[in-house]
């Protein structure tokens, strides 16, 4: 068992990436994720890696596209408005089927918004980040340890599916310090060689990294291939966690920081005799729809809790499919307190 160290969320992401064999980071400054590039700028040179501060997020995501296409494990990170700019590159990365890990430490929008923690980029991360039919695989950690574990896992998942993976945190998680335990570091030289990468056609046929398909049939085939991949992702990669759900009649559905706050609210509600538990999606895409649907016989009411005006609630409603009411609690700009969630649970529980 490795020793636990006290570490800030953002820096822990950087360390987890390096331990996953990532040696390339391209990014652009934006609050509240700046500790990630700072950590990579400090640590990557010690591992013969490359840190490059790009001229923009647009350029950074296209550098990631180039580095991923030429076979490297590569990381970029940003916060909400910067992710909007990275969307172009991410669509090309998804279209060309390249692996990479993108971290979004969400702040509150829209527009310039503010630098307070938020979960307002759920739609962006899981639905329509950019043009075209594609999905990222989206992890939603709720502790610093999970930031580490899911960042590390993210590189494997990205390689396995040749698909961009997003680690979706928020400003609170990124800035929070918690004790974490790290895995043994991987040597990038020992990772399986990517035969499709553009690294010079020495003694082999040439490789082309591309997402252009001009013939209609070819274009459809490209999208069918992606569709089939997403089906495999849905079948194999769903992750969720349940808390005090065994005898629950009310289920809170929340991810990330909202789930942490909700856990406390659930404990407080339990002390008052309200039978409530938590369903915490760990993957937001693929979403644990079957896992939520399976609770409908037992659960009478759902409460989706988010630091937004209600985004994930749409997926919860699709999963519940009208069989039970799905209520919402959320605030944005300010981080809500467990007491506020408790009041909603009391109100819901009182209807029983």
């Amino acid at each position: 068992m490795a020793e636990k160290v006290l570490m800030k969320g953002n820096e822990a992401i950087g360390e987890a990436a390096i331990r996953a064999g990532c040696r390339y980071f391209f990014g652009y400054p934006i609050t509240p994720q700046n500790d990630i590039p700072a950590y990579m700028a400090r640590e990557l040179p010690k591992h013969d890696g490359v840190f490059l501060q790009a001229e923009s997020e647009v350029a950074a995501s296209n550098m990631v596209y180039g580095a991923a296409g030429s076979g490297a494990r590569v990381l970029t990170s940003s916060s909400s408005p910067g992710i909007s700019l990275k969307a172009e590159g991410i669509s090309y990365i998804a279209g060309a089927e390249l692996p990479c890990v993108v971290v979004n430490i969400m702040r509150c929008g829209p527009g310039l918004g503010g630098i307070q923690p938020s979960q307002g980029d759920y739609f962006q991360a899981t639905k329509g980040m950019a043009h075209g039919d594609f999905h990222m695989i989206v992890y939603a950690p709720s502790t610093v340890q999970e930031l580490v574990d899911l960042t590390y896992k993210g590189f494997d998942t990205a390689d396995r599916y040749r698909n961009p993976v997003m680690v979706l945190g928020d400003g609170m998680l990124g800035q929070m310090m918690e004790p974490v335990e790290f895995m043994e570091p991987l040597d990038p030289a020992e990772l399986p060689k990517k035969e499709w990468a553009t690294d010079g056609a020495k003694g082999r046929e040439t490789n082309v990294i591309n997402s252009l398909a001009l013939a209609p049939e070819e274009l459809e085939a490209m999208n069918k291939k992606l569709e089939n991949k997403y089906k495999r992702v849905k079948a194999n990669e769903v992750m969720h966690e349940e808390y005090r759900l065994e005898d629950a009649e009310i289920a809170v559905v929340a991810y990330g920081t909202s789930a942490r706050i909700s856990t406390k609210a659930i404990d407080m509600a339990r002390e008052r005799g309200i039978k409530v538990g938590l369903i915490r999606p760990i993957t937001l895409y693929p979403f644990p729809e079957k896992e939520i649907a399976a609770t409908c016989d037992q659960i009478k009411k759902y409460l989706t809790v988010e630091m937004s005006t209600g985004q994930m609630i749409e997926d919860v409603r699709l999963a519940v499919n009208g069989r039970r009411p799905v209520e919402f609690f959320g605030r944005l700009g300010v981080v809500f307190e467990a007491e506020e969630v408790l009041q909603r649970l009391i109100a819901l529980g009182g209807d029983n």
Partner: protein
Amino acid sequence: MKKIASYPDSLTEKHFHYCPGCTHGTVHRLIAEIMDELEIREETIGVAPVGCAVLAYEYFDCDMHEASHGRAPAVATGIKRVHPDKVVFTYQGDGDLASIGTAEIVHAANRGENITTIFINNAIYGMTGGQMAPTTLEGQKTTTTPYGRNLKEAGNPIKMTEMLSVLDGPSYIARVSAHSPKHIRKAKKALKKAFQMQLDGKGFSLIEVLSTCPTNWGIKPKDALNWLEEYMMPVYPLGDLKDIKEVE
């Protein structure tokens, strides 16, 4: 028997899709000949643009990476940082490099990124059907300047190559033309030098090639060659703009 000319190994056998009288094919061939002569085909990764040369990956017989519009220098940066021992080039048009991709080309050049950029300037958008490019000449008619480019409204023809040549990062920057055999020979010399700079680790090199677009200029291929010389060359004078080897 000494072979004096042949089809370049670094070109695939795929027929170019370029219009009659377009000089893209000429420049493709020059780059392929240079890859052959420097024996770098198996070491080279080319980055294709968005524009008429979007299908360049079908023609160059080396590893190729398609970029989004204007981002080729950023994509090339990502590749080169992973494979500093390989040869990386971008092939970009004037809409790609001089309009939407200005930030990427300026900063790749300024970092002295050890890549080579081939910049095709034909003073118009080709693939999208003849819109104004930032390099379009004063008074030149395009679909988006139907009364001729008015400098007060549409700005001036942008001189990217001059702009980039004042930066400290680049090793070699030159403007050449592909409209006559004499100019094509000079263009090849400049292109080869640009690749050699990269091989020598000297940093960013860029060759602007003045090119024709008879289809969108709305004139015959032969007239296009004359038009380039008569109207483009006075605005975009040929020659070396930066050469660190001469400075040394």
